[in-house]
Symmetry: C2
Subunit: 334 residues, 2 copies
C-alpha cells in the first residue's frame, strides 16, 4: 500500500478539485492510501471515499503570492509543509500540490531532500506531441542557471522517467539547441553535448530544435531551467492564443461559421484533448528522495486524478529508488 | 530613389518568388529601384517590370547547406555576396535574401559591417499577437551568447524599430524572463534589468513571460539570442502543429466535420492570416550600417513583396541612420 500526501489547500480550485480527484483515484486504485492536509471543515463535506483516506487538519496554508523560501520556513503548519514533512518522516511516500510552485520546489528541496549526488533537481513534465506519444522535458524552470553536469544528470533522470513511467524502451534523448549540428550552441550546450555523447547508457540522438518538439523528435528533451521555462511558456501561450483566435473567428463569423463550428465540435474536442497535457499528470520535481509533483494551479478534479495516477506509477515502478541506485553507482565509478 | 539589392538565387522558390515579389513592389512603389543578383537566363523570363530594375548576372550562389563564414569567403561571386558588396560600396541601400541565414548574417557582419559602438547586431522580427498589433523581438538567434550590455543595445534598437517602422509611440519594452518580479532570472537578466530600468529614454515595463507574448504584453521584447531563438521556434512549431492537428481532426471527422470545415473556411482563413507574420516582412539583422533582411526560405512572392515594403519603410524612416546617430552619441556621453 502506497501512501500519497496531498496538500488539499493549494490551487485555484482547492479544496474541491483535490478532494474530488482523490475520491475518484481511491475508487479506481485499490493499492493507494491518501492523506489530505488542510481545513477539515472544508474537506470533510467533499470527501465521499471512506476507506484508505484520512485528513490531517491545519488552519495554515501557503498563498500563491507568498515568497517561497520564507513561506516554507515561517508557515510551519501550512498544509503543503505538513505534507512534505510526512514524506521526510517516512509517513508518506509522495507529495502532490496544486499550490505555489516556488514554495513546493523549496519544500521539496529543503524538507524532502535531494537524492545523493544529484546537484540540482529539475522540473519534468510530459508535453504533448501530434501523435499522442508525448515527450518529457526538463528542467522546466526549477533553476535559473545550470551547468553541463546538471544537464547530464537531467538526461539520465529523464531517460529513467520515460522508460519507467511511460514505458518507452531506450528513450531517445535530445539536447535542446539552436540548431541540429553537433557544433551548435553556446559553451553550455557544447560541453553538455560532449558529456551526453560519451555516456553509453544514454540513447543520445543529438541536438534538437524547439520547432520540432511537438513532432516528437525526441522522447526526452534536456534543457537548462531558463530556456526550458521559456519554451514551456511559449508552447502554452501559443496554444492558448490560437484556440482563443479560433473561438473568436467562429463567434465573429456569423451564422455560417457558428453552424460550421457546431458540426466540427466533436473533432475540435478531440484535438483539444490531444493538446491537454494535464492528462499526463503534473510536473515532477525530479531528483528528490520521493516524488514531489505539482499539478497546475487551475487543475480540476480530472487533472488531480491524472496526477495521482502518475504518482502511483512512479511509486509502482520505483523510478526514484532506481535513480538513487544509479546515482550512488555513478559516484563510486569516479 | 532608394536602391534595394536582392539575392535572387536564395530560398526554396528562387528565383521565381524573388522576381515576382520584385515585379509587384516596383508596380506599387514608384520611389524604389531594385537590382537582382543571380542567373540572368533564369531571372529575365520572369521579370515583367521594365523600369527601375536591373540584373547583375552571376553563376555562383550559396547553398542552404554551405558552411556560412566559409561560403562568404570562398564564393566571392555568389549572388548574396555581390548584393552585400553593392551595399558596402554605396551602390545599393539595403540587401534582401531568402537564402542561407547563417551566410546572410556573416555577409552582413563581415561585408556590410556593424554600426559603430554596436557590439553584436541582433536578429529582429515582428511576431503576431491576437489583436493584430504584433511585437518586435530580438535577438532571435544571431548570437548564441549575449551580455547585459548587448541586451541593453537590443532594447534601444528594438524601440527605434517599433517607433520608426511600425509607428508605435514610446514602445513598451519588456525583458523576457522566467517570471515578472524584478528579482527574477539569472545574473544576465538581473544585470540587464538594472541597465534597462536606469535608461530614461526607454519605456521599460519590466520582465515579461513567454506565455504572454502573443497577448501583446509588450511592443518590444528583449532576449539573448539563444533564448530568443528557442522561443521563436517554439511559437512556430506549436502554431504549425495545432493547425496540422486541426486539419487532421477535420479530415478524420467524417462528412459532418468536413461540412463544418467548409462553412468555417472564411473564418479559419482570417485566423491563419492573423498568424502569418510574413506579412510584417522578414527578419532584420539590426545593428548593421544598412538594412540586411532575411525573408523565410519558403517565402512566396507575397512574402517577398512584404519584405520589400518593410525595407522601403526602413529606408524612408532612416531607422538605421538614426541608430548610427544614437550610438555615436551614447559613446560620447561616456
Amino acid at each position: 500500500m502506497k501512501k500519497i500526501a496531498i496538500d488539499a489547500m493549494g490551487g485555484d480550485n482547492a479544496p474541491q478539485a483535490l478532494v474530488e480527484g482523490a475520491n475518484q483515484a481511491l475508487r479506481d486504485f485499490a493499492d493507494i492510501e491518501i492523506v489530505l492536509y488542510g481545513d477539515e471543515a472544508k474537506i470533510k463535506p467533499l470527501l465521499t471515499a471512506t476507506e484508505r483516506v484520512s485528513i490531517v487538519h491545519t488552519d495554515e496554508k501557503i498563498d500563491s503570492d507568498d515568497e517561497p523560501t520564507r513561506a516554507i520556513r515561517k508557515k510551519k503548519q501550512a498544509s503543503m509543509v505538513l505534507a512534505a514533512k510526512a514524506v521526510k518522516d517516512g509517513e508518506a511516500d509522495a507529495v502532490l500540490s496544486a499550490g505555489n510552485t516556488g514554495a513546493l520546489l523549496a519544500a521539496g528541496f529543503f524538507i524532502v531532500g535531494r537524492i545523493k549526488n544529484i546537484d540540482r533537481p529539475g522540473l519534468l513534465s510530459t508535453l504533448p506531441t501530434g501523435d499522442g506519444r508525448g515527450f518529457d522535458m526538463l528542467d522546466l524552470g526549477a533553476n535559473a542557471e545550470n551547468t553541463p553536469h546538471h544537464l547530464h544528470q537531467y538526461a539520465i533522470l529523464g531517460s529513467f522517467y520515460a522508460e519507467n513511467v511511460r514505458g518507452i524502451k531506450q528513450p531517445r534523448v535530445g539536447l535542446l539547441n539552436n540548431g541540429t549540428e553537433a557544433s551548435k550552441g553556446d559553451p553550455l550546450r557544447k560541453e553538455t553535448y560532449a558529456l551526453l555523447a560519451a555516456d553509453d547508457k544514454l540513447n543520445f540522438i543529438g541536438n534538437v530544435e524547439a520547432r520540432d518538439l511537438m513532432d516528437g523528435v525526441a522522447d526526452v528533451v534536456v534543457a537548462d531551467g531558463f530556456t526550458g521555462n521559456a519554451v514551456l511558456k511559449s508552447i502554452e501561450g501559443t496554444a492558448i492564443s490560437i484556440l482563443c483566435q479560433l473561438k473568436k473567428a467562429v463567434l465573429g463569423g456569423g451564422l455560417k461559421a457558428k453552424l460550421g463550428a457546431l458540426l466540427l465540435k466533436d473533432s475540435l474536442q478531440e484535438m483539444r484533448k490531444s493538446l491537454d497535457y494535464s492528462s499526463a499528470g503534473g510536473a515532477v520535481l525530479f531528483g528528490l528522495k520521493a516524488p514531489v509533483v505539482k499539478t497546475h494551479g487551475s487543475s480540476d478534479a480530472k487533472a488531480v486524478y491524472s496526477t495521482i495516477r502518475q504518482i502511483r506509477t512512479m511509486l509502482e515502478t520505483d523510478v526514484v529508488g532506481k535513480s538513487v541506485v544509479e546515482f550512488s553507482r555513478t559516484e563510486e565509478e569516479k
